[in-house]
Symmetry: C2
Subunit: 333 residues, 2 copies
């Protein structure tokens, strides 16, 4: 029987890009669940861009991870032992236990998942935070109408891939932005976007313009920086920009200087930031809707998997560089 618990701790705050030295891998005893707590063995760990913000000293959405603390993150796992009557051994659950193989948490912080309806790992991706983010960001802020042009950056990523496929189902012309030919091909050929522009190749703005002959009505922004600044100049009257992520800025030591803000005035653009937690009381609504699209074969989904908890730092570093291809996961068991 396994008696030790492997954990990844934050060892030092990154200056600019994240490096493996920012983490420390340790073995600790498996905790005993206290009253009302549940002991979980984690099967999958989700890696997400927001984690970069939590490694900083400064407060972003939430309190930073302290030096020496287990890195934050969502997992799916299996209940080993329960002191909360709502859970029993064998239940599959979604947790916030972070980068570790085992953990004990209050039952109310866990969410049972239906691993028959969809693979357990999907609850970290298309039926989890990224999918729910895509759903509410697009429907509540982007508000696309049939016939409009929707642009999605990080189009092959966990959020972007869902946004674009939903947009197609809603009757939009959907243009993705991604880094590299392989991702762009996938976005068009597998996910069914109308076009996908490689931002790593020259004349980005020109090629994006060609792909959006009627301008842009909705930009679902996951990247920011020069990509967003280019898009700002192409937005239509009364268009919407969903600010879901600014991953181009997360590793940067100097913030980007956006030069086309005047377009917001001239074109009466609505630009709005979002965080999925703002819809915390409505997650079920999104999961229902996404499951429907998934069941109808209207949502394709791809996972990018690294094996073993020791590979988690490398997985996050790759994700922040855009090396992942689909939803980034760490397979723990």
């Amino acid at each position: 029987m396994v008696t030790m618990n492997r954990q990844v701790l934050l060892a030092a705050r990154p200056q600019g890009a994240v490096r493996e030295e920012n983490f420390r891998i340790v073995d600790a005893p498996i905790p005993k669940p206290g009253d009302g707590e549940v002991l979980v063995k984690n099967d999958w760990l989700s890696l997400d861009p927001y984690m970069r913000g939590r490694m900083n000293e400064a407060k972003s959405y939430a309190t930073p991870v302290a030096i020496g603390e287990v890195m934050v993150g969502q997992t799916v796992g299996e209940v080993l032992e329960s002191r909360d009557p709502a859970f029993k051994p064998g239940d599959k659950v979604l947790t916030s236990l972070g980068w570790q193989l085992h953990g004990a948490a209050k039952g109310k912080t866990l969410r049972k998942i239906d691993a028959v309806r969809a693979p357990a790992s999907y609850y970290l991706g298309i039926l989890g935070m990224p999918g729910i983010t895509a759903w509410f960001g697009l429907t509540e802020i982007g508000e696309p109408k049939a016939g409009e042009t929707l642009v999605v950056s990080a189009a092959s990523g966990a959020v972007g891939s869902v946004v674009g496929q939903l947009g197609r189902s809603m009757g939009c012309r959907v243009v993705g932005i991604a880094g590299g030919k392989a991702k762009c091909d996938y976005v068009v050929q597998e996910l069914g976007f109308d076009a996908c522009i490689d931002h790593k190749v020259g004349n980005f703005g020109e090629r994006l313009c060609e792909a959006c002959p009627k301008g842009i009505d909705v930009d679902f922004e996951n990247v920011g920086g020069a990509v967003l600044d280019t898009l700002l100049g192409m937005m239509n009257l009364s268009s919407r920009i969903v600010i879901c992520g600014l991953v181009a800025e997360y590793n940067a030591t100097e913030p980007y200087g956006y030069k086309r803000l005047r377009s917001i005035l001239v074109n009466r653009i609505r630009m709005q930031g979002m965080l999925v937690f703002d819809w915390a009381d409505r997650y079920d609504e999104a999961i229902e809707a996404l499951s429907g699209y998934l069941g109808a074969g209207k949502l394709k989904y791809r996972e990018s998997i690294v094996e073993g908890i020791d590979s988690a730092p490398r997985g996050l570093i790759g994700l922040l560089k855009g090396e992942n291809f689909g939803k980034q996961l760490v397979k723990l068991a």
Copy 2:
């Protein structure tokens, strides 16, 4: 009887700041009204920051003024002769005749004003485009709630002064931003704002922070540039930024590089551009509301007047430098 019509034409497009040489003053025959047209003698010309955009080659909100054309602008005046049965000599009207003493226009482009309810010039200011802009921008985009903190830049100007007074009536803490001690004193002592910060004095951000101990819930932005970038860092969760004007950018040859856009994501800010024309079918609603506040003594109003059409170029140049103090008008008659 006057037979000639004095006009101010756009002579050359400005490079950076507007100069008197960009205009040419000419005398032309007074036009004869055609069928359905009305001849108007203008009494007041409104000068507004948007005029700077119309002097550029590039399309902004609307088609640029052509070289040799009469400068655009709203006036109030008196009907001299009418070939539209809806108007008769002596009627006071709001027009878009631009920078000239007389003009003929289709009756449907004119709007009768009630010069008994308020002085005719008010229909270019507090009961005109600036007041209506303040009303819809604040109520439809800013959506202030009692107890919130509202910041207004260009606080002593035609729009800002109305926004701030409305905000006070709605129960907000209202902090103005203006250039110079005289304007700041006026904003606090006469208009009743809770505070006003002089952006021309050092430590602007620090002093603004002190004046907004609970952060900022609504920014009604008329200025842009460094002022807006500073404000971005002080906005509260779920706050709103009304982009009504970016006057700091209009004369600039290089656009400003905004560095704090990440705050839109972290704080889920909604930033939205506006133009009063978007509510063209609802102007009466705003004029009714503003007249009510005005009649109840809850809106103070100040005009900045230059005399004679020949002074109009100087008036606009001053306005764009922030030299005006209240709504900028040219008294034509």
